[in-house]
Amino acid sequence: MKRTFAFSFSILLQLFMFSASGADTIAFPLKIRAGADLFGPAYRIAGKNNISFEGLLIIDRDTSFSWVVSAGYQKYFFSQYNYEYSAKGLFFKAGTEINAISPLVSRGKYFAGAGLKYAVSFYTYEAPFISSENYWGEVNSSIGRISRAAHFIEVSPGIRTEVFKNIMIGWSVHLRLLIYSGTGRNLRPVYIPGYGNGTKSFSPGLSYYLIWSIPYKTEKINR
């Protein structure tokens, strides 16, 4: 499995290493991109109980490397026979993104690469209903609203392509690693906005982006 994965990666890398010939130059447009994650609202429309909005801003530093910042809001509710849990909060992410496609091929229109971001989630949570049963009978209780800040790292491999002039769509897989949930061991959050399951140190996710690009500078690259 490990070997197959490594092999696939090396094949892809070789494909990305686009060898150039000739001495011509081409103009590569560096862009500022503003986008939104459509997966959250679509999830809501599909009848799920949770609300999620996230916007992002990508600024090309050069032909392969970009700065990324994003911010979002998420509201989560979960209920089962023995407890109810709700959380809401704002989250902010900042980091970098590297396009693995050669600039000669991508020309600012295609992206296949990965981002690495540091994220902070400012959230509140509560458990308005807790039920526990043992020999003495059933005990009902609750946990009042608690405000905390969680920190996590997000690795986001993804692809994007320009579908119309300066309009891109694409999706990213998010692999999140929790650094600190902001709580003690007893009252760990069931869900952290922007992160996911707060009881796990690893949380995966998916985003589908619609992005508007604004060229701000042109860089000449040798063909």
């Binding site: 990305f16 023995n82 091929v105 296949a112 807790i130 526990s132 020999y135």
Partner: protein, 158 residues
């Protein structure tokens, strides 16, 4: 020339990402953790100080006669007692070899999240333990944190 190459690259990368997502995809899980939180009590002989199972053990909550936790159980070196989460103390009537004593625990209760699947339970910090001395000689608190690990919390010498 460039477009098919890019399409190929993006398709390959998309496939890789989908594989990654499938590897980490979450499926609903059932509760796997131990949900019962019990005070573990071990029996020791007063004279020898060695762990010893009484010939018979009967346990029920004070005020809950007829609702036995153990009824004339033989070979029990360790028994597990459920604290009452709705109160900050609870009492158990313990019959050792047919002679009865009452054991009262005082504690503070706090909620603890087991997991998303299991939900919350209550953990306890034992503040003290009082007892009658018909057959029980002494009780030692070994570990005042009562959790779902159901480890030894007290030692009963008889």
């Amino acid at each position: 020339m460039t477009k098919p190459r890019v399409t190929g690259l993006l398709s390959g990368f998309a496939l890789l990402l989908l594989t990654t997502l499938l590897m980490f995809s979450c499926t609903p899980q059932s509760c796997q953790e131990e949900t019962e939180v019990l005070i573990g009590a071990s029996f020791y002989r007063s004279g020898t100080g060695r762990i010893a199972a009484p010939d018979s053990v009967t346990v029920y909550g004070a005020g809950k006669e007829g609702s036995y936790i153990y009824k004339k159980a033989a070979g029990q070196q360790v028994i597990f007692l459920p604290p009452d989460a709705s109160s900050d103390y609870c009492s158990f009537v313990i019959g050792i070899n047919g002679i009865y004593d009452t054991l009262t625990f005082s504690y503070s209760t706090y909620p603890h999240l087991l997991s998303k699947e299991c939900g919350y339970t209550f953990y306890y910090t034992t503040a003290g333990c009082t007892f009658t001395t018909n057959i029980i000689d002494t009780v030692i608190i070994r570990n005042n944190r009562v959790t779902n690990r159901n480890e030894e919390n007290i030692r009963i010498f008889f």
